[in-house]
């Protein structure tokens, strides 16, 4: 490696907080980072953009001390350095909020925040001091949802767990805070709360690296944007006044068409009708969906949207109410009952409920169809192969051989696999719970096309999403879901997003 001159002068005249020069990282023959240049200033939110596989995660792991770069230099505060371990990164004040939650479910909020750095005296944990510290921290960060610091984390929803994760990262000095898709499970209100916390940190001089697939968020929060493509930095520019389409083109190096378009609503047979459904988390829900219709369910995190989906799939018990599928009353006591009735669910958390992560792509795709390829005693490899090939081809699941481990696929491809595998026998009703969560821009747009195409083929699609744009943009009708019940119905186009949001949060009243 060459001896390099001292760092170039940056805009503010001082050395950048973090500077990467020509960072290269290889995994075997795969070039994950092909020479990345990146610099982060004090007091800025720096968005890192790129499709899945562009190298964002690897770059973060280099900064977090998880991967050592093979080539290139890391400068922090004008010092050339190496980040050899997570502890090293911590000493430089680099904190990462990972996409995968790293909390201990059985421990309380306070215990999780101070996990590993518990205040102690003579070897004993000072519980009261820890709780007081946690309460102060939560208050300082303005995260009101976490006020009950003694609550075990397992009783919190995904969104609140995310907030615990953030509080944990900020409990220690954070000069550089890295956020990887922090809002993927947050509602609009929670996102805004997070943003105000981030703005405060920025004002205090911290440098923030922000990764998200949601361009509208990046416009709201970021000061500068760096785009990665194929493991290399394509460029850095100011976020102000950036054109969204140009940004997408920059990322994917191809023009993508208009994302949202709405085919005319079909008037056809009723595919599914629910009458006064009640369960632990569903409080009297009735609705009806026709063949070929996309029915959006908009609701904040914690409104119980997923419980409705799970009840319809037989995962959560229904205590009361009736479901009619194709005109016939059906009992939904297990996913098997739901599948027999033609109801399919692609779950919110695909790693927890969807995939057998230690198995291959083919295993996961063929799993629901063993009766087709394991007829008799000996399984037919060729029949299995046909099922897998059909799904892989028609849903364009790229990136890996079908026999490769499913965990190596990008989020978008995993999600396409989970949707696609049910199309072996077209279901009557397809329930999609957060189908674009953790999915990159290109795959997200592809998912939209898939949804529209499936509805066009006569399938009824129930679409649940935290992303209001997405629900409103794709659906023929949108149900507003609040506290386990339907709080009205809107037609896209007839009501503004702001008005819908106001009703969902309870700020707008019902009169509109």
């Amino acid at each position: 490696m060459n001896v390099t001159p001292p760092s170039r002068a940056t805009g503010s005249g001082e050395a950048p907080l973090v500077e990467l020069r020509g960072v290269v990282k290889r995994f075997g023959s795969v070039l994950a980072l092909a020479g990345v240049d990146f610099h982060l200033r004090r007091g800025e939110v720096h968005a890192l953009l790129g499709e899945n596989g562009a190298g964002k995660s690897t770059l973060i792991k280099v900064l977090a001390g998880i991967h050592a770069p093979d080539e290139g230099e890391i400068w922090i505060n004008g010092h050339r350095t190496a980040i050899r371990s997570v502890a090293d990164a911590g000493r430089w004040g680099i904190r990462v909020i990972h996409q995968e939650l790293s909390l201990v479910p059985g421990l309380s909020i306070a215990e999780n925040i101070y996990l590993g750095v518990e205040p102690h005296r003579w070897g004993l944990v000072r519980r009261r001091a820890m709780r007081a510290d946690a309460a102060r921290l939560v208050e300082r960060l303005g995260i009101d949802e976490l006020q009950e610091v003694d609550l075990p984390v397992e009783r919190l929803g995904v969104a609140h767990r995310q907030l615990v994760e953030i509080a944990k990262a900020l409990s220690q000095e954070a000069r550089v805070l890295i956020l990887d898709e922090p809002t993927s499970s947050l509602s609009e209100v929670e996102t805004e709360a997070l943003f105000s916390t981030l703005r405060r940190l920025r004002a205090a001089g911290a440098g923030l690296i922000y990764i998200s697939h949601r361009l509208e968020e990046i416009e709201r929060i970021a000061d500068r944007i760096t785009v990665l493509r194929d493991g290399a930095s394509v460029g850095t520019r100011a976020a102000a006044g950036v054109d969204r389409r140009e940004l997408v083109r920059w990322m994917v190096d191809r023009d993508i068409g208009d994302v949202f378009h709405r085919p005319a609503p079909a008037s056809a047979d009723v595919a599914l009708e629910a009458r006064s459904l009640r369960s632990a988390a569903v409080h009297g829900v009735s609705f009806c969906i026709r063949r070929g219709e996309i029915l959006g369910i908009a609701g904040l995190v914690g409104s119980g949207r997923s419980s409705l989906a799970r009840a319809l799939f037989g995962v959560e018990r229904l205590e009361e109410g009736q479901v009619f599928a194709g005109g016939k009353s059906v009992q939904l006591r297990s996913p098997r009952d739901a599948l027999a009735a033609g109801i399919v669910l692609v779950p919110e958390d695909r790693r927890r409920d969807g995939l057998v992560l230690i198995e291959s792509v083919a295993f996961n795709i063929a799993l629901p169809w063993t009766r087709r390829w394991c007829r008799g005693v000996w399984p037919s490899r060729s029949r299995r192969r046909e099922i897998v090939d059909r799904t892989v081809q028609s849903f364009r699941i790229g990136g890996a051989d079908a026999e490769a481990c499913v965990a190596t696929l990008s989020g978008g491809n995993q999600q396409k696999g989970l949707v696609g595998r049910w199309m072996e026998e077209a279901p009557r009703v397809l329930i999609l719970d957060e189908p674009t969560r953790g999915v990159d821009v290109g795959a997200r747009e592809e998912m939209f096309r898939i949804i529209i195409a499936l509805a066009g083929s006569g399938m009824a699609v129930i679409l649940i999403s935290s992303d209001l744009n997405e629900v409103v943009g794709l659906s023929h009708r949108v149900l507003l879901y609040r506290d386990g019940a339907i709080d009205g119905e809107v037609l896209p186009g007839a009501t503004s997003l702001e008005a819908i949001m106001a009703r969902l949060t309870g700020a707008g009243g019902r009169g509109s």
Binding site: S334, L367, R381
Partner: protein
């Protein structure tokens, strides 16, 4: 066919077997080279452990465990022989023998169905359920004949043949039973939908359920299978000993777990094969035989076996990283 094919596992296991044989031959001077006679001998010695280990592999594969199998062997043996001895020295009949075997295996299956039902329907961990059932089963077995051994009644030559007869004066029945069980389990685990579903349940129970697999029914069947195989082992054992010993079976579950684990079955679930388990049982069998023939004191034998198991599992974990 599972994606976790056994092919990758077989290499290291076979290498370990060869290494052990060479070690015993050239370092300790013990001959266990695999002449047909020696091989059959070895297979006979491992037959009970291997049959238990095949069932254990299924439970570990779905993320569970069955600690009760050792005591189930004793219960089955006791119930079977007790049933035979009921009639005193009346002449033997095929019907009577068949009934006795069915009653004995039925007792084993009942224990298995309790294990399985509790594991599937309650939220108790299988470790605790089967630990409790170990004690229950032991109590049941000991309640027969004041816990004293029950000799097999004299005329039951057919029952005694199960453990002692050698086909063509060469292949003992236990070896035949063990191999039959092995091939049956290979088919069940590696060829049927049922087996495919077990890998899914072990890999991610929720994902399996969401894919429409009846996870609870599968779990119950696995525990019933495991327990029933323990019953088969128990019948062989009682026949070999010419008596049912209510207090028998101690620690057999640990041998079974050891064979499964050395053979590559992962405690996190979703990984493991039947041929791996068979090779695991063979490795432990060779160790037993070799150390015995070398005249190693039994205290040292345990120590060596423990270290070998640790080394095997460590290498496995390290290789998977």
């Amino acid at each position: 066919m599972s994606a976790r094919t056994g092919a990758r596992r077989v290499g290291p296991l076979v290498a370990a077997i060869v290494a052990l044989l060479l070690f015993f031959r050239f370092v300790l001077g013990v001959e266990i080279f695999l002449s047909p006679r020696n091989l059959i001998n070895l297979m006979e010695q491992i037959s009970v452990d291997a049959i238990l280990a095949f069932g254990m592999t299924l439970t570990i594969l779905i993320g569970g465990i069955d600690l009760s199998v050792g005591r189930v062997t004793a219960l089955t043996g006791t119930v079977t022989v007790y049933w035979l001895a009921r009639n005193g020295d009346a002449p033997e009949s095929a019907v009577e023998l068949a009934t006795a075997l069915i009653v004995g295996l039925g007792a084993a299956a009942i224990v298995g169905s309790v294990n399985g039902t509790l594991a599937a329907k309650s939220r108790m961990p299988p470790f605790i359920i089967t630990l409790a059932m170990l004690m229950v089963t032991r109590g049941l077995a000991l309640s027969f004949n004041e816990a004293r051994p029950i000799p097999v009644p004299r005329p039951e030559a057919a029952f005694l043949a199960i453990g002692n007869y050698q086909i063509l004066d060469l292949v003992p029945i236990p070896v035949v039973v063990m191999l039959a069980v092995f091939f049956a389990m290979v088919v069940i685990l590696h060829a049927t939908r049922f087996g495919q579903h077990l890998y899914a349940i072990g890999g991610n129970r929720e994902a399996a359920r969401f894919a429409g697999i009846a996870t609870e029914r599968h779990e119950i069947i696995v525990y019933v299978l495991c327990s029933t195989l323990a019953g088969v082992a128990g019948i062989i054992q009682a026949s070999q000993l010419n008596a049912a010993v209510p207090a028998a079976g101690e620690g057999l579950e640990l041998n079974a777990i050891a064979a499964a684990v050395v053979g590559g079955t992962s405690f996190t679930g979703g990984v493991g094969t039947m041929h791996g388990t068979l090779l695991g049982a063979i490795i432990i069998g060779i160790l037993n035989k070799g150390l015995n023939q070398a005249g190693v004191h039994f205290s040292l034998q345990y120590l060596v076996k423990g270290l070998v198991i640790l080394a095997a599992v460590y290498l496995d974990v390290w290789r998977r990283k």
